[in-house]
Amino acid sequence: MFAYIIRRFFQGALVLGIVGFIAFSMFRFIGDPYENILGQDATVLDRQALEERLGLNKPIAIQYLKFLGNAMQGEFGVSYRNGIPVSEMIAQRLPATIELAIVSALFALFLGVLLGVYTAINRDGFLANFIMTTSLIGVSLPTFLIGILLIWVFAVELNVLPSFGRGETVEIWGWKTGLATASGLKSIILPAITLGLYQMTLVMRLVRSEMLEVLRTDYIRFARARGLTRRAINFGHALKNTLLPVITIIGIQLGQIIAFAIITETVFQWPGVGLLFINAVNFVDVPIMATYLLLVGSLFVVINLVVDLLYVVIDPRLRLDGTEAR
């Protein structure tokens, strides 16, 4: 087991290294930061001097190795945009994104599983069909439009929920949270729905179809034949078996949630790393971009690993030979 974790870890690190290099070589094509740093008054000489100082005239591979070397020591450089160390900026922004991602994922998971189970059990019911059809509307519109429509309805027209930001935050054990205050909780509602809606639909439909398959299995028939209550069958047996594939999807979707947070955070001015990344792209703030991609990449690797381990926890069949399972 331990060897398995180690092996996955190194695979992950290798992947990260490659992804990082590809990303890094792409940065040179998305513009250069000189105008942003120097302002419109700069002369040609100023620009050359800056290029030299930033090392942007060196080959990509050299720049990348330098970045990696520093990154190994926890040194991610300093933002071109405002001179603040990247690690500090990311650390400051990460809690906001993590809170948003987790709340969105929980929203997607709970509502998705709930509706999925409901629509599976009442397969041909009117309400179930209605839910199935309307849920498709949520995935037939792009995220940014949903966000803007929510702002329009709930902030501008109804004036009941905030249109931007995290609201009031407090620091609990060094973690700046918006989940402990009323305004913070109010602020997270619209962004979390915007971000989680797609995943909610996905989870719901997946749960439904998996559940329908599970409900047709012999062991569910056998459970019925044993005279178990509907409740025990649906939740004790069917749901647990249904969730197995759902966990994989959730793992992948958590990655998607973090990536799509870029859009949600832009729409709602949510002060997380996604917004930081978009700003960095606009400013060609290479250290921030590189660190963000590295961070997101590591998150994906960790999530993947956690999902694999979770599989082993839930599925007893994998416990003995977990290393061979996947």
Partner: protein, 306 residues
């Protein structure tokens, strides 16, 4: 198609189930109506929204059903900020969105099916390598992939080709982020299939793997592929719209549905609701009809679920 084949097709299980499902009939009708209008946009559309010289700026922001101030033309669904007829722009935009979607899904399907078949048939280290790449691809979110590819392509293509470039970059980046689903499904089907006696027999008599893959394995994986392709098509159209919000979509001189919506959202609070409403509705109806078709197909082609 001869009469008997036509009849057999009409009486097949799939078509029987289609005739019995009002949802399937309506969504097919809507989808084909939209696709038809899109394909024949140059014939259907009253104006030529992609030709900048035909636009009259003074017609800008004409409300639905009004006549433009500059040209005196009547615009049933109004015009956008450039005086572009929304109705025509939607037709042309949908044409572009569908093209991008279909091409991206085709790319994803070709890539996914080939790699999935190879992985499933040969197994061993080839399988391991392909599936590991798939894992990596799966964890890397599509919008980041698209942003990076777009950035590079932008730097590499000559400026006069950028308009076309945007479309192909979208196709490639959406296609690249979507092949894994195909590969995974095809692989598992191929694994099951390749263990069956007839494939083993074909192997034993020394038929080349290419022929076995194409003749024996491919036909057996087509129905799940069809389901995935349908759902991916809706996904690709939506993804294209999302990317246009991040500025990596189709250019505003030749807007896709997504770009139209991105432009339109600027005017949502201004009261020029038609610029965002009609393209959004079209996108919604298009994606919804494709999604509903996909749903129905999955129910029909997945015998386990019936």
């Amino acid at each position: 198609m001869s009469d008997s084949r036509w009849l057999r097709w009409w009486q097949s299980d799939v078509m029987w189930s289609w005739r019995r499902s009002p949802v399937a009939i309506v969504s097919t009708a809507v989808f084909f109506a939209l696709a038809f209008a899109a394909i024949f946009a140059p014939l259907v559309a009253p104006y030529t929204p992609f030709d900048p010289s035909s636009l009259n700026l003074m017609d800008g922001f004409t409300a639905p059903g009004e006549t433009g101030m500059g040209s005196g033309n009547k615009y049933w669904l109004g015009t956008d900020d450039q005086g572009r007829d929304i109705f025509s722009a939607i037709l042309y935009g949908m044409r572009l969105s569908l093209f991008i979607g279909v091409m991206a899904v085709t790319l994803a399907a070709i890539l996914g099916i080939s790699l999935g078949l190879i992985a499933g048939y040969f197994g061993g280290w080839i399988d391991a390598v392909i599936m590991r790449i798939a894992d990596i691809q799966l964890t890397f979110p599509s919008i980041l992939v698209a942003m990076l590819i777009f950035g590079v392509a932008r730097g590499l293509t000559p400026p006069e080709l950028r308009d076309q470039m945007a479309v192909w970059v979208l196709i490639i980046s959406i296609g690249l982020s979507d092949w894994v689903q195909f590969a995974r499904t095809v692989r598992s089907s191929a694994m099951v299939e390749s263990r069956k006696e007839y494939v083993q027999a074909a192997r034993l008599i020394g038929r080349s793997p290419m022929i076995i893959l194409r003749k024996h394995l491919l036909p057996n994986v087509m129905s799940p592929v069809l389901v995935i392709a349908t759902i991916s098509l809706a996904l690709a159209i939506i993804l294209e719209a999302t990317l246009s919000f991040l500025g990596v979509g189709a250019p505003p001189t030749k807007p896709s549905l997504g770009t139209l919506i991105r432009i339109g959202q600027d005017f949502l609070f201004a009261g020029e609701w038609w610029i965002i409403l009609f393209p959004s509705l079209t996108l919604l109806v298009l994606a919804l009809s494709v999604n509903l078709l996909g749903d129905w197909l999955r129910d029909v082609l997945n015998p386990k679920l019936r």
